[in-house]
């Protein structure tokens, strides 16, 4: 059976034009997808059944047993952490937030080690953005700053920017200028009309300099700023100011570098400054599939996009304090539920060590690094393949994924709702 217009469940692009061929409970072919999509759909390496650590070995257990034991662990905790959420759909995320509310837990999503700093910057200065179609149809200048779309978002350039014609841009490749700013050469920098190589940690100063140039303070700029020549800075500023519609896309190269969210803030303020001359937008390249959806769901329930601490009943938010890495670093949490992500692989080692020390439960379809650190793992259906629900694209456009077949696994929502019911009963 061939299914058309399938939504890819890998990265924040949420490409929705895939054609997927299904035989029984297996995907046998994918058209239009990038390498990442193909691997995602064709991969067949699922954990077969719930497992529990028994001393230095592992044993299979039933779903009911696994869920009941998880509930007991969470109920017993004084400071549980519920982490992950980006690989699952909105309806499941929503139950997760209510679970955290009920438990007095901290709930955090993968933004915490991704675009969390972008959110913090937006909370200081706002976010002049747009949907991706706006860029596709109008942009004559596109800037990728500290992002490497060819590796991380392989179809971003062909669906929305460099190689994609639009209504007002009939021949994108000729009419659209691409600027890439990075600390190193990448596949993406090779297709740029202008490559700006910045010293590591130098983005903030370069952005400040560009803001000053756009404001007409060229005389202030020294011969080089963090490895970038004054001439190149002027050239980039002129290119941006003469654009009819410019779009900046930035990656975690900015959020993770020295200064963290202040880099993003500076980039947003540059965008605002450019809007006094022409039209400019800025957008984060959200990585992990539905991470933006987790921000949306968290926000409409709690008021905050990530790092929400319910310990005192109310919702409290303060990145640096209520963020997962900090909580694990300080050894605060005494139980952890990981859903649809892999902190074992993606958090600094000392965090992984704490996850191994406390009872950690993982709800995830695959064996990953966190598996080895967990006490229990509950396998679930893969969202976008045998589970369906809502996901948000990196620009905030919500799309419903398709279920391609009914498999043998419950989905995240099934498992979390069961967990919620048990805990709600216990808490009264």
């Amino acid at each position: 059976m061939k299914v058309e217009d399938v939504v890819c469940p890998f990265c924040g692009c949420l490409c929705d034009d895939l054609v997927v061929e299904v035989e029984g409970t297996r995907v046998v072919n994918v058209e239009n997808g990038c390498t990442l999509a193909n691997e995602k759909f064709m991969g067949d390496h699922r954990l077969k059944a719930p497992i529990r650590r028994a001393g230095n070995a592992w044993e299979e257990i039933s779903y009911d047993e696994a869920i009941e034991e998880t509930a007991a662990i969470l109920l017993d905790a004084d400071r549980p952490l519920l982490y992950g959420w980006s690989g699952t759909f909105g309806e499941a995320q929503s139950v997760g937030v209510h679970l955290a509310e009920l438990l007095g837990a901290v709930i955090d999503n993968t933004s915490t080690v991704c675009h969390g700093p972008s959110i913090m910057a937006i909370q200081e200065v706002g976010h002049p953005g747009c949907t991706l179609g706006q860029v596709k149809n109008r942009a004559d200048v596109v800037v990728y700053w500290a992002a490497n779309p060819i590796e991380a978002h392989p179809r971003h350039m062909s669906r929305y920017t460099t190689f994609c014609d639009g209504f007002f841009v009939k021949s994108a490749f000729r009419e659209r200028k691409v600027i890439v700013v990075d600390v190193r050469e990448t596949e993406s920098s090779q297709v740029a009309d202008e490559f700006v190589k910045v010293n590591p940690g130098g983005d903030y100063a370069v952005l400040s300099a560009l803001r000053a140039i756009v404001r007409g303070k060229r005389d202030l700029i020294p011969a080089t700023v963090e490895g970038v020549s004054r001439e190149q800075l002027f050239r980039v500023a002129d290119l941006c100011m003469s654009a009819k519609f410019g779009a900046i896309f930035f990656g975690v190269g900015l959020t993770m570098a020295q200064g963290k969210y202040k880099n993003i803030r500076n980039a947003i303020e540059l965008t605002e400054e450019l809007n006094r001359h022409t039209k400019f937008t800025i957008s984060p390249m959200r990585g992990h599939w539905n991470v933006y959806g987790s921000n949306e769901v968290f926000t409409w329930i709690t008021g905050y996009p990530y790092a929400v601490d319910f310990a005192r009943g109310i919702a409290f938010y303060n990145p640096g304090e209520t963020t997962s890495v900090d909580i694990l670093r300080r050894g605060e949490c005494d139980a952890c539920l990981v859903v649809a992500s892999d902190p074992g692989a993606h958090f600094p080692r000392a965090c992984a060590e704490h996850l191994a020390r406390i009872p950690t439960v993982q709800i995830d379809p695959h064996v990953n690094a966190t598996t080895h650190l967990s006490r229990i793992q509950i396998p679930v259906a893969v969202t976008g393949i045998d589970a369906e629900g809502t996901a948000y694209r990196m620009d905030g456009v919500p799309i419903r994924t398709r279920r391609l077949f009914y498999g043998n696994y419950p989905d995240d929502l099934d498992v979390l709702e069961k967990l919620y019911r048990i805990i709600r009963e216990a808490r009264g």
């Binding site: 890998f10 390498t35 990442l36 691997e39 991969g43 497992i51 650590r53 070995a57 592992w58 915490t112 080690v113 969390g116 700093p117 490497n148 590796e151 991380a152 600390v183 190193r184 050469e185 920098s189 590591p200 975690v252 190269g253 993770m256 570098a257 020295q258 963290k260 990585g287 790092a307 990145p319 640096g320 304090e321 963020t323 997962s324 890495v325 900090d326 694990l328 670093r329 892999d342 074992g344 692989a345 993606h346 958090f347 600094p348 080692r349 000392a350 965090c351 992984a352 060590e353 191994a356 020390r357 379809p365 064996v367 990953n368 690094a369 598996t371 080895h372 650190l373 967990s374 793992q377």
Partner: protein, 129 residues
């Protein structure tokens, strides 16, 4: 020799991310990319193993050249190998220094550990099923 460690996504890391016990994932996640001139100075060749140390830990990886990197800079794709080196300091922002961790690198003959072994070093119990 001392280097500045940068991390990020790669397409091979992304395409094997759901098979973290696999050889493909291990190969990609445990590769440290280096400027060829730096490799020459360190007298290592593609595929050679090196011990990478930071203030937070150390791990054995294998080397591959990347002329796009500046001298003194190394790159490892995000994953448990890179994270064996990255500290937990977030500067009050929740975000560790994934893009700029000072490391020292020296050649070694030791094997590159598997993900499961790395997690055992963290206190976990490998699941091989």
């Amino acid at each position: 020799m001392n280097f500045l460690l940068n991390t990020g996504r790669t397409i091979r890391q992304g395409s094997s991310v759901e098979r973290k016990n696999s050889a493909t994932y291990r190969e990609e996640a445990s590769a440290v990319s280096m400027n060829p001139v730096d490799m020459f100075e360190m007298m290592v060749e593609q595929g050679d193993r090196v011990r990478v140390k930071s203030g937070s830990g150390e791990v054995v990886m294998w080397v591959r050249p990347d002329p796009g990197l500046g001298r003194g800079k190394v790159f490892v794709c995000l994953g448990p190998y890179a994270n064996h080196l990255i500290g937990t300091e977030t500067h009050g922002t929740g975000m560790p220094d994934f893009k700029s961790t000072p490391v020292s690198i020296e050649p070694t003959e030791e094997p590159v550990p598997s993900v499961a072994v790395l997690m055992r070093q963290c206190g976990g119990v490998p699941y091989e099923g």
